[in-house]
């Protein structure tokens, strides 16, 4: 079984995490290192297509199985459950406004592709294998949490006032926006292409989609670090309750991932990745969706806690922790 300390150290000294840390430092030093926005956009496109493609090729190699369906089902369910209790905690205990509580809850119900990628980089550093179809999960787990929280909100508002028809039309538009968003389209599109092209197709493009992948992820992490560093300033406005929330919730949410992984017989690596996805908090798709659906929610709150607290927490502490727990639990239970 894994040694906790060694695992944590391996994570903290991996280039992916170090570049993230460098980014945070750069932001705090207020140095002028900014990626041109077109570059960030392109790196995002590359990363999404590459993981979709790799996942598709893996599925083509392994074949579609009933087990996968079970994992997908579990993943969708956990995504729908997380925002419900998150919302109640934020609304009742944290005393946040309905819109703010809902927007934040939606972020935790959705997932962060960057955190997922850091998880895969960590596992490959530890030489831990996982099911290839895990690459397909991020695309599927973007949406359910967002839908869940919007239904919740429209249901609460229906009780109070009568702008429920507007809420429903907003729900429709938001779902459409997420389903056709770059993240989902490229992940699923890459998956499809990879599945049809198969290992034979992979041969010619391996250096591009696999060889340089980790290096490009490093650059991306550098930028994510500067963004997280910038967001740290927002934390003063968010208050301590939210900061605490951003640290406590990820491990709690990760438990759902561990549970689904154990129950569906995933490998240790697969279970750890599912926990990472459950614990992760969206910072691209959810903010855009929430801005559209809940214009009165304050972006400083949901971005501050998502990018300023939960993202760094998961990268620095969460990923090795969830892996350690997955390894430990499966060691005991199987």
């Amino acid at each position: 079984m894994a040694d906790m300390f060694e695992v944590a150290l391996a994570n903290l000294t991996s280039p992916v995490i170090l570049f993230f840390g460098l980014g945070v430092l750069i932001a705090l030093a207020k140095a002028k290192v900014e990626f041109p926005s077109s570059i960030s956009e392109f790196i995002t496109i590359y990363l999404l297509i590459a993981i979709g493609f790799k996942g598709g090729v893996s599925i083509a190699e392994a074949g579609l199985t009933a087990d996968m369906a079970l994992v997908v089902l579990g993943a969708v369910l956990l995504c729908a459950v997380i925002p419900v209790y998150s919302f109640i905690i934020l609304w009742r205990i944290g005393k946040l406004k309905t819109d703010d509580a809902a927007a934040i809850a939606g972020h935790y119900g959705s997932i962060s592709v960057v955190t997922f990628l850091a998880g895969t980089a960590f596992l490959s550093l530890m030489a831990v294998n996982y099911e290839g179809f895990m690459y397909g999960l991020p695309a599927i787990m973007e949406l359910p949490g967002i839908v869940a929280v919007l239904i919740l909100v429209s249901w609460i508002k229906e009780k109070n006032r009568s702008d429920s028809t507007q809420a429903r039309s907003t729900l429709g538009r938001t779902v459409r926006k997420v389903v056709l968003s770059k993240s989902v389209v490229l992940l699923l599109g890459g998956l499809l292409v990879g599945y049809i092209a198969g290992p034979r197709g992979m041969a010619g493009v391996e250096i591009f989609f696999q060889g340089i992948f980790l290096g490009i992820l490093c650059l991306f992490m550098l930028e994510m670090g500067t963004i997280a560093g910038d967001r740290l300033a927002d934390l003063r406005k968010t208050g301590w309750f939210l900061v605490l929330f951003g640290i406590v919730m990820p491990p709690v949410n990760a438990l759902w991932g561990l549970a689904v992984g154990v129950m569906t017989d995933l490998s240790v690596g697969g279970t750890a990745l599912l926990a990472v996805l459950a614990a992760s908090c969206s910072y691209i798709v959810a903010p855009a969706a929430m801005r559209l659906a809940l214009p009165k929610a304050n972006p400083a709150l949901y971005l501050g806690v998502s990018v300023g607290v939960t993202l760094p927490f998961n990268l620095l502490v969460g990923i090795p922790l969830y892996y350690y727990l997955a390894d430990y639990l499966i060691g005991i239970l199987r």
């Binding site: 926005s37 960030s40 991306f220 963004i227 559209l292 972006p299």
Partner: protein, 105 residues
């Protein structure tokens, strides 16, 4: 040269709501619009980066519409309503002159 007086409305808006502004312009009778994206700025809501990056959550976009005074008035009323609904807009209007009257109506 004969020139015709029009209004030029500039609206700075978060990327999320660009479609809404463009739709409003169309419904109000504008013949076209221009969308600028490569800029950043500061206002009541702090520094904003330009649109497109990974940090782009609600980056700045500018929609410019040139239209007759009547159409401009309808657009301005619509923008006012959007602001009332909590959407953040920074709007300014200027008098401009154009060569071809019909192109803008």
């Amino acid at each position: 040269m004969q020139l015709f007086t029009k209004k030029r409305i500039s609206t700075i808006v978060e990327g999320t709501y660009v479609d809404a502004v463009v739709e409003l312009a169309g419904n109000s009778g504008a013949s076209g619009f221009t969308i600028y994206e490569g800029f950043r700025g500061k206002g009541r809501h702090g520094m904003k980066k330009s649109r497109g990056g990974v940090g782009d959550l609600s980056g700045n976009v500018e929609v410019v519409v040139i239209a007759s005074p009547e159409v401009a008035d309808r657009i301005l009323r619509g923008l006012q309503e959007m602001m009332d609904r909590g959407i953040r807009l920074v709007v300014h209007v200027a008098d401009v002159q154009v060569i071809r009257d019909h192109h803008f109506s």
